[in-house]
């Protein structure tokens, strides 16, 4: 008969222990997120080619290469994104030859995966 109150106490203790751990877990998650963000990448994670060093150096000042590697855009879309990052995300505007180097590299190595079985959209040609 005495077990029930004990069980209740144990449950309460467990519950409060869970709550007490929450700030620690929060701290560890914040640190884990920071560690992920700071994880060093090698330039070679990007496709080899002219302009890779420039792309790696310039782009990873803000974000890691996952954003590049997952992308598959035409040269025009890449070029448009350079303006978008400058206008919306405080990137130093890219101009002239340096811009060409970056955009050419991205379009060459991270271009559209395919034009599709019918050669892409007829209204874009």
């Amino acid at each position: 008969m005495r077990l029930l109150p004990y069980a209740a106490v144990v449950v309460l203790l467990c519950a409060s222990a869970t709550i007490a751990q929450t700030p620690d877990l929060a701290q560890r998650q914040a640190e884990a997120a920071a560690a992920l963000a700071e994880r060093q990448e090698e330039e070679t994670v990007l496709a080899e080619g002219e302009g890779r060093s420039e792309v790696f150096g310039y782009c990873t000042a803000c974000h890691n290469t996952a954003l590049i590697r997952r992308s598959a855009f035409t040269r025009e879309r890449w070029d448009e994104l350079m303006d978008w990052m400058a206008e919306k995300h405080g990137m130093n505007p890219l101009e002239g030859e340096f811009r060409d180097t970056i955009v050419d590299y991205l379009a060459r190595h991270y271009g559209p995966l395919t034009r599709g079985p019918r050669g892409g959209n007829p209204f874009l040609n």
């Binding site: 992920l36 855009f73 994104l81 990137m91 995966l113 874009l124």
Partner: protein, 434 residues
Amino acid sequence: MAHQNPSERSVQELYRDDPERADALVWGRRGALQGAALAAMGAALGGSIPFARNMPSGLVPAALAQGANQPQFLQMEGKAPLILQGERPLNAETPEHLLDDPVTPADKFFIRNNGSVPDTVADARAWKIRIDGEVNTPLELTIAELEQRFEIVTRKLQMECGGNGRSGFSPQAAGNQWGNGAISNAEWTGVRLHDVLRAAGVKDGAKFTGQHGADSHLSAQGPAISRGMRIEKAMDEDTLICFRMNGAAIPQMHGAPARLVVPGWPGSLSQKWFTRLEVLNKPHTGRGMGGTSYRIPVRPIVPGSRNNGADFVDMESMPVRSVLSSHAHGTRLPAGTRSLDIRGHAWAGDLSVRDVHVSTDFGQSWQAMQVAAPPNRHAWQRWQGRIALPSDGYYEIWYRATDSNGRMQPHVAANWNPQGYGANPISRVAILIG
């Protein structure tokens, strides 16, 4: 990129490297899968294809529709192995089969960041939230004061990234290539924004809001994101200033210690690490407003074309969508399995879901599932049912929800836009019997 003779590669390799070309080659002009091509496809998939006659040309079999890069998974204490979309900013998607809980637990809640995750705060109850702008009495209240002064409510609320489903767009749209897993349905506790705004006294000219949080942009210049909504949505009884999730403190990844929750609208409105809400007499101009950000075309544009979004409109209520949570994509079942009980969830922004239909013959016939009522408005709904499988072999379960206005998930992502919002095509899970 090498121009090899396709016959030198297996069907699987061909699909992995160049799915659309593989599809065209395998299906041929007449769109019928026959003879050697059918056998090769079956071999690549690991079984026969019972409904091969109905497989439409141009649709890559779901089992092969993954890119050459296998997904990477998040490893973080307190989080399930979510699909890692990127480390900086940190973004991770919940695989559909981990969305089976009626209330999404913290470990299975997707992660979406625009900037850096802030440090934790020592005293959560002293965290301050400011309400100002077009109000009679600007307020600055701690969480403790909010709890004391206003009615505390608890609701199950769906929260979904505005870009959920983006990977459905062709050509590719810019941003995280989400499948359907940037969705959650946690139980949130907080106070109604409506009650707080009433206490501040909203002026007659108030039309919009502007939200602010403590996370900084990755460039360390300014805030990560600051979005706003029409005042009507701010006054909705389900728009809450929350300080608890699933009965516990809000996890750090999800906006501790206070988060705005704006259910059914793009998740970016649900400001994490919430510090301030401005009431405005014109649309907000924060980072993430205007142009093509969280905005969709009114007049459909050519997919892949350039557009500055000047005549787009802000995305508001999210479109109808469903997940299948009982079986993972790629599930293998014992030979002789002839029926399967399946289930998942469906939701539709501010609306509710009327129907969910399932097809196992590539869309030729559809079967109605049972759909439960939501436990409260803005909560997702459980769907379930039993499907028949006439033989061993490869199947795709296609599932499609219909909202309370009768709009269905389309066969392909509609209304293409540069940053990829609103893609909600029918989803497909591949299973193999035997």
